[in-house]
């Protein structure tokens, strides 16, 4: 079993909050992913069993949202916004620079498993473009040198 008993308890408590238990699927995915790092087929099956739904329904949601992963990820997520305002302020060059710095392409994970780099469509911080998100922290008004420094400091 991938999902711990404690997590199962929490998921059941979430399900009770919604008119249809399925409404708690997003909450459950967040909870489980925190523990497992990504939602594998096996994990999806376990969640589906908890909700009494077909595992394909879980995978639909996982693939729909960017913040859920169906493959193993690095220890840190670095998401560079490349939507219009950020791009006008040099986000694409920033992303290319970070790719070169890490030796991977957006969507990939460094060999040591430290960082997964990705681009994102709008993180809602257009006033501070260009910007990136490291895990749950926003870093704004960046240039390449500042961004590299932030990445180098990650464990």
């Amino acid at each position: 079993m991938v999902i711990s008993d404690a997590a199962r308890e929490k998921i059941r408590a979430e399900m009770a909050k919604y008119p249809k238990p399925e409404g708690a699927l997003l909450a459950a995915l967040h909870l489980v992913q925190k523990q497992t790092g990504h939602i594998s087929g096996e994990t999806a099956q376990e969640i589906a069993d908890l909700f009494g739904i077909h595992p394909i329904r879980v995978m639909e949601v996982v693939t729909f949202y960017n913040m859920f992963y169906d493959e193993p990820q690095g220890r840190h997520h670095v998401h560079v916004c490349t939507n219009l305002p950020c791009s006008l302020r040099g986000a694409r060059e920033l992303l290319r620079g970070l790719e070169a710095h890490l030796g991977i392409e957006a969507g990939e994970t460094t060999k040591d498993g430290r960082v997964t780099l990705a681009h994102e469509e709008c993180l809602g911080a257009c006033g501070y473009a260009p910007m990136l998100r490291v895990d749950e922290t926003y870093h704004e008004n960046l240039d390449l040198a500042a961004a590299k420094r932030i990445l180098d400091e990650l464990e």
Binding site: G41, M59, E60, T63, F64
Partner: protein, 528 residues
């Protein structure tokens, strides 16, 4: 009831229906009132995703989707205005943004809703220069279906079908926005007893059946109405016919029988019509014991001669007849008359049984078991015991279900009989013991009526002509009766006349015959 005005005409519609549902109830959708649509399907839940069905509703500032807008009493709807036309053009342009230019190699061409509506509402030139989405062209979704991701317009009909009808839920939309694709989860296949229906409801050429794809261009097909004879549900189908050959069955809507679906097993029974093992030649067993092909008339005379000689020796009491649940009401009525006229007292109907489910598939694997019972034929189980026990010397047998383990379990016990006369559509082990063999017609080769499990009388039409000499069972028996000189038998078989006399033979048929049954069928008296 609510009053609904569409394009200036007022209709009375049921409460609680959406505009498209109301139009469908009225029989007007795409049949007088055109509201093009992709995602909406009369037998699936509402999705509201394709946006093609937009109409103008007075009092609403914006256009509304017809599929998901409930009718309100007094509602006034316009489906032909400039605004509506413009909206359709816009939706079509979006749907075509990423669509490949596949029509020349696409199996759906000719029955493709994207083609049809692009022709009516499409703009002539693409305004984009960006490359189209490149996706998988030949995905093996399971044992029956191929999938072309590029052609998919993401209407989700197939997804909803799998969830709502067979309730197997194999398909889903993965990813989001212009990355969306239909897929199964890794390791899972689209594999359920109704899987091929997804190809029928897919409005484009994304889902095609492995069986039919690339067999023939659909514009060569005549879609002739008929019924599936695979089980006693009697699902309504269109037979796709060209060059005197049936290429496929697709479901024909009948809300009292099969909605818009058929099972995969039944769908494939079209293959029986032109099968290589059709019984093609009338034959008579010679004195040396081998079957010899003879002209039809000679075979009938030989059958009559054998029967006559047996009856002269032992009387009609040693004769029995086994009716087939595949035979039509008309065939069976003629057989019943023959039994009366000849004084044959032992008879019964054989019905092969198999799997059933709670959707369409019924356990009785023939189209007319209920018709046979209604006409007074009893289950042939006891008769089979009597035959096996040696109590019968001569047998007239329609079809070969008598060989089923539920009856004789093989032809061996028949080898002892003095006379075995076989009327059948397909070759079987009965050939080894038959003295006379007479080829008969399949349902798709004759006018005939059948009664389904629920007592609904339905009919078949002759849509192909056998390439060999074969007649309806009723006609063969009429000729046999004439050859035996039985009273009331002149060798003629007028199926319409026989059909009209069904009501006199069994009260449940009163007022029902070939002509009155029509394309949708009617219930037996007391069954509606």
């Amino acid at each position: 009831m609510a009053k609904l005005t569409i394009d200036g005409v007022e209709y009375e519609v049921k409460d609680g229906r959406t505009i498209l549902q109301a139009l469908d109830d009225l029989g007007l959708l795409m049949n007088g009132v055109d509201v093009p649509h992709y995602c909406w399907h009369p037998k699936l839940t509402i999705d509201g995703s394709c946006r093609l069905c937009q109409v103008e509703v007075e009092g609403f500032p914006k256009l509304q989707i017809g599929c998901n807008t409930p009718v309100k009493d007094g509602m006034v709807v316009h489906t032909k205005s400039e605004r509506v036309k413009h909206a359709r053009e816009g939706v079509m342009e979006f749907l075509l943004l990423n669509h490949p230019l596949d029509c020349p190699i696409c199996d759906q061409a000719g029955e493709c809703k994207l083609q049809d509506y692009a022709f009516e509402y499409g703009v002539k030139h693409a305004r984009t220069e960006e490359p189209r989405r490149a996706l998988k062209k030949n995905v093996d979704l399971g044992p029956t279906i191929k999938f072309d991701q590029e052609r998919c317009i993401l209407c989700r009909r197939c997804v909803r079908f799998c969830r709502e009808v067979p309730k197997t839920g194999e398909l889903a939309v993965f990813n989001r926005g212009d990355h969306s694709v239909i897929e199964t989860v890794p390791g899972m296949q689209l594999d359920n007893p109704y899987s091929m229906n997804v190809a029928d409801i897919c409005p484009v050429g994304a889902l095609t059946t492995k069986d039919f794809r690339f067999k023939i261009r659909v514009w060569f097909l005549e879609e002739a109405p008929g019924i599936c004879t695979g089980c006693s549900n009697g699902c309504n189908v269109y037979l796709g016919v060209a060059n005197n050959k049936v290429y496929r069955y697709v479901p024909r809507r009948n809300d009292s029988v099969n909605d818009t679906w058929i099972c995969d097993v039944g769908r494939m029974t079209y293959e029986e019509i032109g099968a290589p093992d059709r019984l093609k030649l009338p034959a008579v067993r010679s004195d040396s014991g081998v079957l010899e092909a003879v002209p039809f008339a000679k075979a009938i005379d030989a059958a009559a001669a054998r029967l006559r000689s047996l009856v002269e020796r032992k009387g009609a009491g040693v004769l029995a007849a086994v009716a087939s649940a595949h035979a039509s009401n008309e065939d069976l009525l003629v057989l019943a008359r023959f039994l009366d006229a000849y004084g044959i007292r032992h008879s019964g109907v054989t019905v092969r049984r198999g799997d059933s489910d709670d959707l369409l598939v019924k356990a009785e694997k023939a189209a007319n078991a209920e018709g046979a019972r209604t006409l007074g034929f009893e289950e042939a189980g006891p008769l089979a015991k009597q035959i096996a026990g040696g109590g019968i010397d001569g047998l007239i047998v329609l079809g070969h279900d008598l060989l089923d383990p539920a009856y004789l379990g093989g032809e061996r016990t028949l080898a002892k009989l003095d006379t075995v006369i076989v009327l059948d559509t397909h070759v079987s082990a009965l050939e080894r013991v038959a003295h006379v063999i007479l080829p008969v017609r399949h349902a798709a080769e004759k006018d005939a009526t059948y009664v389904n499990h629920a007592g609904r009388v339905q009919r078949s039409w002759p849509v192909v002509e056998p390439s060999f000499e074969a007649y309806a069972d009723g006609e063969v028996i009429s000729r046999l009766g004439a050859a035996l000189g039985l009273p009331g038998f002149d060798g003629k078989f007028d199926v319409r006349e026989v059909s009209r006399s069904l009501g006199a033979a069994a009260a449940a048929f009163r007022g029902i015959d070939l002509e009155s049954v029509g394309e949708q069928g009617i219930p037996l008296a007391g069954k509606g």
